[in-house]
Structures are given as C-alpha cells and as structure tokens.
C-alpha cells in the first residue's frame, strides 16, 4: 500500500495540488486488488465486491450476527475499484476493511459501522455519518464528512476542498493537507488538520473546533488563529491518539471566530455555546 506522506503534497496553494488528489482518487487500476493483507486480525467474513451488487452486499453485511462481546465481527472486502455510493447505510456493528478504493459518497449515512479503506475515497465520503468511523489510508475527494453528525472520519493522506462542510458533530481528522473552504457552514464538531490548508479556512458563525498544525493560505473573514487552552490541548491529544495521528497537541493552533475569541477573552475562559 502506498500512502502519500503529507510532505508529498505541497501546501494547497495551487490547483495542481487539488488536481493531484482528485487524480489519485479517481485512478484505480487492476492493481487495487493486489494489496497484500496486512498484519491485521484475520477476518471472519470475506466478500468480493465484484461478485455482488451494492444492495446485495449491504443486505449480506446486515445479516452477520451481532457479536456477543464488545468486539465487532471482522469483514474483509475485496474487489474495491472505486465503486460509487458503496457501503452506505450499513448501520450494523461491524469492523469492515476494504482492500482497495471506493468512489463518491462511500460510507454515507452510516451508523455504528467501523470501516477502514486501504486506499482512496472519492467525493462526499462519510456524508451524514451518525456514529462509527471511516478511516481512509489514502486521499479523499471533495466534501469529505459533509453534514456528519457523529462518529469519526480520519483521512491519513490528504483531502480536497470543503472538508467537513455543514458538519454538525463528530470528529474529522486529515493527517495531510486540505483544500479550500474547510468547515464551510459547519455548526459543530471537531476538525483537525495535520498539514496545510487552502483558502478560506473556518467559518465565522461556527462552533466547530478547528485545529491546524501547518499553515492556512487564508482564513475566512471574521476568523482568527489562537492558541489552545490547556484543556483543549488535553482533549486534542486524546483525539489524535484515537485517530492514530502522531504528534503533540501543542504543535496545533486553533482557528476560531473572532467574535468567539473576543467573548472568551471578555469572560476569561471557555464559553457557553451561545456566545453570539
């Protein structure tokens, strides 16, 4: 498996970088199936995505009995070659590992299910996620985690524009770089950016906690950078560990609406949510 390291992508200051992500998301060849299973635990179920259509696959997954213990049944999916709209609304406690890439709107509106995609995902992956998680070892297209309300989306490569747009809860982590308009129209939740960001980062009307380690090309109007409160450092540190992202929370800065920061300074501490 080849995961582009964050440094492989330049700061998102050019269309070229975004095109590179989109191209890498879109280009799936026969080698997608050639991925060697890693040292993860052996799956209890294996299905070939080429051998059944998506509806059949979802129904098959939902029929897997729930585990008696806290450990979810493990499922491995082969034949993933960038199929669009795959693995939506599984809504069943499973741990699914996808050997390959998925296309647009992968794992949308999922609840409970834990999915790991070994390569890339297309646009709108993890849309409307309610709980569970989606971990992507490669890159993601536009609008990853759009309108999610809970759970965790973690992208270990880079992501294109509008990450976490209109999100209403949950946590979104990108180890690499992100494009423009991150957190556009988002209401709540946490967005963590391990690399650099493009233009217009943040939203002045948002309660989202945006943390960034690299540089943003520009911040949205009415949004400023600020240092973390100690409590936030602890919280972020735990989130980084749970998302499998290395690094110290103290390397990050938060991106916050200026009005919220002023209200914080006025109140000398963190605020109640009705800061407006």
């Amino acid at each position: 498996m080849t995961n582009p390291a964050p440094s492989d992508f330049p700061a998102m200051d050019s269309v070229e970088a975004i095109e590179r992500i989109n191209a890498s998301v879109a280009s799936e060849g026969p080698e997608a199936n050639d991925i060697e299973p890693s040292d993860e635990a052996k799956p209890e179920h294996t299905f070939d995505m080429q051998a059944m259509d998506d509806r059949e696959l979802i129904e098959t997954l939902r029929r897997i009995p729930r585990a008696q213990s806290e450990k979810f049944p493990r499922v491995e999916l082969t034949g993933a070659r960038g199929q669009h709209c795959a693995l939506m609304q599984i809504n069943h406690p499973l741990r699914v590992r996808v050997l390959g890439s998925l296309g647009d709107y992968a794992c949308a509106w999922n609840d409970e299910t834990v999915v790991k995609v070994e390569r890339n995902v297309g646009h709108g992956a993890g849309e409307g996620m309610i709980s569970g998680s989606l971990r992507v070892c490669g890159d993601a297209g536009l609008g990853v985690g759009t309108a999610m309300t809970g759970g965790t989306v973690a992208i270990y490569g880079s992501a294109s524009h509008r990450v976490g747009a209109a999100m209403r809860g949950g946590g979104l982590f990108v180890r690499g770089d992100v494009g423009d308009d991150v957190g556009l129209g988002a209401l709540a939740g946490t967005i963590v950016i391990g690399g650099d960001a493009g233009k217009n980062l943040g939203d002045p009307h948002s309660n989202v906690d945006v943390f960034i380690r690299g540089q943003a090309q520009s911040l949205a109007h009415g949004v400023v950078e600020a240092t973390l409160w100690k409590k936030q450092e602890v919280k972020l540190g735990l989130l980084l560990i749970s998302a499998g992202i290395r690094g110290s929370a103290s390397d990050f800065r938060r991106v916050i609406p200026q009005a919220k920061l002023e209200a914080e300074q006025h109140n000398r501490g963190e605020l109640m949510p009705n800061w407006r």
């Binding site: 536009l142 509008r162 129209g185």
Partner: protein, 375 residues
Amino acid sequence: MNDDRFNELHFLPPGVAPPAADPDSVENHWTVSQQAVDSRDLSGQGGHSTVTLRTPLFLDQAPWIGMPCTWADTVATTAASMGITVSALHRDLSDVDGEADFFRPLGDPEDSETGDIEYLPRILPYYVDRFGLIPADFVGASVIDVRLCPYQNHLRRFAYSPDQIQRWERTEPDKPLAGGGYVGAATFPADIASTDQAATKFEQLRRLSPGAIVMASLLPYQLRQDIRAIVKSAPDGIILRIDQPEFSPFQVASMVSYAKRKLQQLGHPDMSLWVVPGQITPTDAAKLIGLGASAIAIDHWMKPLFEQLHRSSRGLTPEPLAEHHLPSMVHRLLTEPVEAALAGISNLGTAEIQGVRLATFHPKWAKACSAELLT
C-alpha cells in the same frame, strides 16, 4: 376581484372534439417516471421506478418551524391525504424521531400482498447544507428535491433561523449550535464538484431511497447557464423556483415556457418540470400546466392558515386554537381551490386528447409563451 396573474393568457376551446372532462381522470394522469438507471441498482424493480401523484399540486416549503410540531404534523397529514405532495423533514414535524403521523405507512404493511409499503405523498427537501436531515427521511419519500441552490426562508432570507436549527438539531435552548444566531445558507452542495458531476449524487439518492424520484431544484438565474449540465446528469425532473416577488407574471410564464422548450431541445421532452411560482390562483395553476409545467406549488393557498397558526402559537389570537379543528380548517381552505385547479387542468389537452389551448392578444406573450396569437 380577479386575482389571476396570467390574465393575458386565455383558454380557447379545443379545435375539434371536446376533451374528456371527467375530473377523476385527472388523477390518473400524473405519473412521474424515474428514468432507467443502472439496472443493478434497482434489481427487483425492473430498472424503473414510478411515483404516481393523485394531483399535480404540491406544498413546497411550509413554515413548519413557526408552529408546534403537532399542528405541523396535522396540517401536513391532512393536505397529503387530499392528494397534495407535501415537503417536510421528520424533524420539521416531530420533537421525537418517528412520532409524526405524516411519515407512518398507510395501512398495515403486513397486510400488503405485494410487500410494497405505501406512504403519504412526500417530498424530501435535500437542502444544500442537509441540516435537520436524518436517515429516516429517505424511507418512503416519493420525491427527493435536490437543492442545487441556496435555501431561502419564508422571509426571503438566505439563512436558517435559530429556531429552525434548534428544532432540526435538537439542541437545548441554552446550548445552541453556531452560537445561537442565524446561519447563512450555502450556495451549492459541498460534495458535488459541479453540475456536471451531479449524476453520481442523483444515483446515490436513488439508492438511498429506491422508491423515490430524484429532482434537481434550480433558481431562475441558473436556468440558462446550468440546465444543460443538470439535464445531462439525468435527474428525473427539474423543480424551477421562481417564487421571488420581483418577478412579474410575464417573467414567470415565460420562464416556465422557456424551461419546457429547453428540455425539448435537449432531447428530454418528457422530463418533469415542477414549478414553484409564488402567488397564484387555481386558474393560474392550470395555465402553468398548460405552459408545460408538470406540477405546481400551492404554498400561497395555505398562507392564511399558516399566518393564523403562527399568531395562535404566539398567543396573539383572542381564542386559543382547538387542535382537533385543524383538519377541517385545512379541508375548508384547500378543497375549493384544489377542485378548481383540477377542473381547469382536466380541460387541457394531452398528447392523445385535444383540449383547450392557451392564447393571447399580446404578441410579446405569444412569443415568450408559445401561445396562439389572437388578432
């Protein structure tokens, strides 16, 4: 007083044989077909999904937030029972997910011989921001209204009110999202790269709600620049939102006519064209159908009731509202205009039957609306 907005357009009697004027036959005309998509996606349905509407009338964007949930649920259920396709989210009509009558299956699903579960005719408003949307909204929807344009509230503001966010997101009054203020509406879905790429989004929604047709909502400003790309993305229909008060009746009529001609030019003469025209009368509704619309929003007819309900919910009326009277209030308000509109529509011609035609004495109207010019 005549409130008709399209007075310049006249109904002419049919040229040869009179049309079948049986109003009941109208109910069988309004079938919107979902175009065949990847047959794998709709296996078991023959690659073709059909939604039959009892009337070509729909309630587009009722101000549900300004009234208690139980009232909103009763109004939506009553209107839908009358054959009006009603647009609402679960969280518009209920404080607790799954409790609103409007979303319940009709009859006992166990009794269904075919296994198909029927629901009241419903539009799922798939807003750009998807605030308030929950997975249960996809169940039993007749139509998915994919907004490719920003949300505009009943005050014409491109924003969501704090009350709206609170009801949709179920937040505590003292712990609001987004700081407790108005939230600006986004202009285009964040997860669609462009109108050219919308096909995958439409496919996604067909899979999430296999029994529904998927329609793309447009503002008139998008009509000329985007309609080609949107039609190429193969929605099952277009919803044209021309209810902005600044549009004159002539502009409204000509835009409907233009959209219909454009669909024909693009090789989709049968693609549904639903219209949100703002203030209209039943006669206007029939004329818009005559101009090529497939269904018409009737929000304006419900306005007096909604104003009364809003006043009552704030305690501004002399008597509190008796909730059990709501169904009869809806019936009283809608029966006459709906019947008048259906009667007018039933006289229009179809491909098979020659009916009344639209004509005008004004060359400008004749040209813009492809209506017969009377001299």
